[in-house]
């Protein structure tokens, strides 16, 4: 049985300097309750790994608003003007990464791989500082794995063992991050009894999940 608690309880061990993965794509599939609890807690100097900085007041954008991040691994900051401004002025270190590479880096982190070779970014600024490897006459970039101390995720439903399912485009990075963090906290809309989710339909195995929070 996985532990069920409130959003505030769930984030209580997140401390300054930690690395946090947060699910979602432009706020869809982001655990709003958990992000809000982290904002309320006010922990600074966070490294965040997430697809995008969403919008002001929405999803990960709230952590931008409250200036709690010192480093951000992401593919897109176009929805939150403050992210771009902070990057220019050096207030926030932003590592811009192609979205597919970011997904594979997180998957590699959770899968015990030492990295993956991708053709994406060859011949662009993305290749700077990275090892290039030629396989079958094609050039690839070696992209290293990403892991985190904590993942803050959003799923649709969990059973009481933590098995998760997602809805439509709210799935996105959540299942990948569930594998790549030491502590995995999931906000769900509903917690159902054991057996209510068919084993064949489970997307994220419950063994990855440490804490469940009932959200909306």
């Amino acid at each position: 049985m996985v532990k069920i608690c409130t959003a505030n309880e769930a984030v209580k061990d997140i401390s300054e300097g930690m690395c946090i993965m947060i699910g979602g794509f432009l706020g869809v599939g982001t655990p709003e309750g958990l992000v809000q609890a982290l904002v309320d807690k006010g922990t600074k100097n966070l490294t965040v790994i997430t697809n995008d900085s969403a919008f002001p007041g929405v999803g990960v954008g709230k952590l931008q608003d409250s200036k709690q991040m010192s480093t951000l691994y992401t593919s897109y900051i176009g929805g939150h003007p403050e992210s771009g401004r902070c990057m220019e002025e050096g207030d926030l270190k932003i590592i811009l990464t192609p979205q597919g590479t970011l997904a594979e880096q997180i998957r590699a982190g959770g899968s015990g791989l030492g990295g993956i070779l991708t053709p994406t970014g060859v011949g662009t600024v993305v290749e700077e500082g990275k090892t290039q490897i030629v396989v079958a006459d094609k050039t690839y970039l070696l992209e290293e794995p990403l892991k985190a101390d904590v993942a803050l995720l959003k799923a649709y439903k969990a059973d009481c063992h933590g098995n998760l399912i997602y809805r439509f485009s709210a799935r996105n990075f959540n299942p990948l991050m569930a594998m790549a963090a030491r502590t995995v906290i999931v906000e769900v809309e509903e917690i159902v009894e054991a057996g209510a989710i068919e084993p064949d339909n489970v997307i994220t195995p419950g063994i990855f999940v440490d804490l469940l929070v009932k959200g909306r």
Binding site: G78, G84, P98, G100, A103, E104, T120, V126
Partner: protein, 219 residues
């Protein structure tokens, strides 16, 4: 020609490049218009890089589903052939060559098929999102854009000056003035827009165009 007319002309011409059953990713903005102009009998499967196949039309506002948006964050629907997946699978589909065609805008395209569409030094940066993967991964890359910048300068150039999105990946450029195929040895003008002359297209283009006046189509 009015702005909207230009966009519709481009979208209609791009739509002719799509075949029944194609898996297609349409970039945010003008490329999304293409879905409105498919030829009769052509049905395509639209890929959304945030994690599903089978994008359907925008729903009425009151039917919008908070969990169902396109890669631009706009509410959409999902068709009955649709299916959902995570971001690793979404980009495995893209990078693995399972998208037949992607249609994207550009800031610059050059004679080598290099593309710059994600960053202007000195301007506020947005990030590449999924664009770099799409351009490297999709089988056919169509750039759909206005032929020139608003200040009249060329977007089709000898060599891109802006930071690249990908090297030598563009296959076809479709603008309000022309259709240009990118080959290994350069740019081939194949069609010009109705009401446009070859001279106008050449004058508006910052790169060499190969063409045979006898074989030029009109769209």
């Amino acid at each position: 020609m009015a702005q909207m007319d230009k966009r519709v002309r481009i979208a209609k011409r791009v739509a002719k490049e799509l075949h029944d059953g194609d898996v297609v990713n349409l970039g945010i903005g003008m490329p999304t218009l293409v879905a409105n102009y498919l030829s009769h009998g052509v049905s395509i499967v639209l890929h959304s890089e945030n994690g599903f196949l089978g994008i359907g039309p925008e729903p009425q506002a009151e039917l919008a589903d908070k969990d169902l948006v396109n890669a631009g964050g706009k509410p959409v629907t999902i068709q009955e052939n649709g299916c959902c997946f995570d971001s690793a699978m979404s980009f495995a589909i893209i990078r693995g060559g399972h998208v037949d065609t992607t249609v994207l805008g550009a800031l610059e395209v050059d004679e080598q098929g290099n593309l710059a569409n994600w960053m202007v030094p000195g301007k506020r940066i947005s990030g590449m999102g999924g664009a770099m993967d799409l351009v490297v991964g999709a089988k056919k890359i169509i750039i759909a854009m206005e032929h020139n910048n608003k200040d009249g300068t060329a977007k089709i150039v000898k060599q891109c000056s802006l930071p690249l999105t990908a090297k030598a990946e563009v296959d076809l450029i479709i603008t309000d003035m022309a259709v240009i195929a990118v080959h290994q040895d350069g740019l081939y003008l194949t069609e010009i827009a109705e009401g446009t002359t070859v001279e106008e297209v050449v004058a508006a283009t910052g790169a060499q165009l190969f063409f045979s006046e006898d074989n030029l189509g009109i769209f």
